[in-house]
Symmetry: C2
Subunit: 437 residues, 2 copies
């Protein structure tokens, strides 16, 4: 890789998510060379991906070019690269565009969807971790309604208008709420020749609570909100199969649907060379000490979702959320400075819980702050404010704000565009057509 | 196709461009059933596609869902369909989602890129007639610079940073200007480790004037603007070959480039069943009389780019521009009403030239109005105002406006995102890598 060798130590960061960017910003103005590698040339604001899937926001307003974030730092280098392996003996990263030596390496690769080994579900379901995936889901949702118009069979129509979301974490809950609002506000106008009242939004959760990890109050209120919006909430039910047509569960419950959205869990996105069994904890995360150092290495660190900092009071590490990644990125920045410039010893990471929140729909959100917990209109307002604040870039904020005001006033979501059609590997409707033939 | 048979006559419109939408709006509130077919579920504001390609606007803000435009009209039906053929004897349209009877048929299919039979250029060049095509070009431009970083060969770098635009109509000129501004304002910041001063923007024109069809004053001034921006303007030169690496022309001029953008011409997008030789004029357009009726049919009409209304003072028909399509759509709406409701005879179409304009860059545009011709800052201001006015939808206007203000104040274009990587069928760089091996 064409990166000049300087007298500064080189820190290679893999991943331009919340953690990687926070770290790079700390280091890039110091006397070190910072190289950030990512397979996308942009940072994705993942918490709003569900709004892209549901036509509420345009994709470009929640993505931000990584080069632009760090363009003012002369010691910062970005490369669009897919990391293939780490050679810890030779202190090298191998990528699809060549290899790169490092003095210090930071894994900030985040997490990927966990199908718990179910290949059938993996092949047939939709996920929403990247912008292209969110756009695929947007296309599929719209294609389903266009297809539903083409059949007289109510069974086929129902399957096309049935949405099954697996997992009632923030992503699943927020998506379910958005779909319910589309059903109510947009479908009757866009598809007057279709009985869209028959559209169903189902959310299936293996445990007995939604938004697990939030307070009981938030969880109960969120469920109320979902039910108010007409979403079917199925608890204590685990989805075990989906052939592209029929969803089976651990109970008698089954669904016929063209669209299963899998939001049931993630696990760490490890990299070959740092994925030895002894380095990992359950959930495929890399075990780190309280300085985010990977076990057995002084020069390799991991932050954010991919890292698991096991402490006596946190046997499972921190939650895999943006706040932890942001704080670990910034904290590691300070620690690396201390380490590299020999300014005292590193300080242990301490997480400052700033609270969690989720929005269910118009005027409906739940917020758990360390001291206050509240729900409803004010929570929804706080949710919007916080998300606008954390978005990168003035233009993105302005565009998101305009969209939100417009959508709110007009009960609308105008980005319902099938820009790149999505073809499911195994379409339910095709199956049915074959059956008919 | 599942469209209810009513007592109203059925008008089938093929194409949701400027002409098709203008017509549908006129007819949908009348006592007739209007069915609009399009292969996209959105209307594209083509004049701004070049800003999508160059990261200045997000794709969703120049696209608008067709269903939404016409959702308030109960007699309006939209189907996402690819029209395969017209059976004029049986008065039927055949599509990929089934067939549909019509009482009246309107061809509003627009135009497609004309490669004048050169298959090699067609296979290797980029075009910009649809949103996905504009996004492909955006990805390729950005990928080129990422790739240029990976090589030490100045020749390879130059080829990756060389842009050749063929055709100096409004599309070519506006794209050249935008690329020149990116070179000046963005590349040095985004790629400090690349000598982006070596990037070249070339525009090649077969005739001896750019913006043919506009006034001499506009043409000369536009050329001055391009040269001010550092664009190389090559006139009296016809591109005759491009193998994905080397561009050859009718003169000694050749270019090595990874990116050839073909904006050298369009021809009518005809449909099988209405493409008999005797129906067409050169340019693959369907000959229509002054009521937009296709020769030999009382019930079939064509409007916009695909139609050629030959009159004694217009032997080549009208220009293939949005204004003609808009006016013909609205005019045909009135004529169809007269014809169907037998309210007098149809009136001949008369084009009201409202002028033409093109923008070259920041504060640089040329405007030809019937009475006034002006260039520079005020022309640029008028250009923006007119384009905002013709955009469909308040949200799109607001988002485009915000982007323009932001880009103007900050000398920036933030949508420089490679959302879906574009892989050229035959990448120059791959060729070189093979040569090296």
């Amino acid at each position: 890789m064409n990166i000049p060798q300087t007298s500064y130590p080189r820190v290679v960061i893999i991943g331009g998510g919340f953690g990687g960017i926070a770290l790079a910003k700390k280091l890039a103005k110091q006397e070190m060379q910072v190289v950030l590698l990512d397979k996308h040339n942009y940072h994705t604001f993942q918490p709003l991906l569900y709004q892209v899937s549901t036509g509420g926001l345009e994709p470009d307003s929640i993505a931000y070019p990584i080069r632009k974030i760090l363009s003012k730092y002369p010691n910062f280098y970005f490369r669009l690269a897919l990391v293939e392996a780490i050679d810890t003996a030779k202190k090298k990263v191998n990528t699809d565009i060549g290899e790169l030596k490092y003095d210090y390496l930071v894994l900030a690769t985040g997490s990927r969807t966990n199908f718990f080994g179910n290949k059938e579900i993996e092949a047939n379901s939709m996920i929403m971790k990247t912008v292209p995936e969110a756009l695929n889901l947007r296309s599929l949702i719209l294609e389903n309604f266009e297809e539903a118009l083409l059949t007289d069979s109510l069974d086929e129509q129902d399957a096309l208008m049935n949405f099954v979301i697996v997992g009632a974490g923030p992503t699943g809950v927020e998506l379910a709420g958005a779909l319910a609002e589309i059903k109510k506000g947009i479908l009757p106008k866009d598809y007057p020749d279709l009985d869209t009242r028959r559209a169903q939004i189902n959310i299936v959760q293996s445990g007995d609570t939604i938004l697990k990890g939030m307070s009981d109050k938030a969880s109960i209120k969120a469920e109320d909100f979902l039910e108010e919006l007409g979403v079917n909430v199925w608890k204590n039910t685990r989805v075990i199969g989906y052939d592209g047509d029929m969803v089976t569960t651990t109970t008698d419950l089954t669904f016929r649907t063209a669209t299963l959205i899998w939001a049931a869990g993630v696990h760490g996105e490890t990299v070959h060379g740092l994925d030895a069994k002894e380095l990992l904890v359950p959930g495929n995360r890399v075990k780190v000490n309280q300085y985010n150092q990977v076990t057995g290495f002084n020069d390799i660190f991991a932050i954010g979702d991919v890292a698991c900092m096991v402490t006596p009071d946190m046997p499972n590490g921190h939650l895999m959320v943006a706040q932890v990644a942001l704080q670990q990125g910034a904290h590691l920045g300070d620690n690396l400075l201390r380490l590299i410039e020999k300014k005292g010893s590193m300080k242990p990471f301490a997480y400052h819980d700033k609270g969690t929140m989720a929005t269910i729909g118009r005027n409906k959100a739940v917020v758990d702050l360390p001291r206050y917990k509240f729900q409803g209109f004010f929570a929804w307002f706080v949710w919007m404010f916080v998300h606008l604040f954390f978005l990168i870039g003035f233009r993105n904020r302005a565009v998101v704000f305009i969209n939100w005001v417009y959508n709110y006033v007009r009960f609308d979501r105008e980005a319902r565009l099938i820009i790149r059609p999505y073809k499911k590997p195994k379409m339910k409707v095709n199956t049915m057509k074959q059956k008919k033939a």
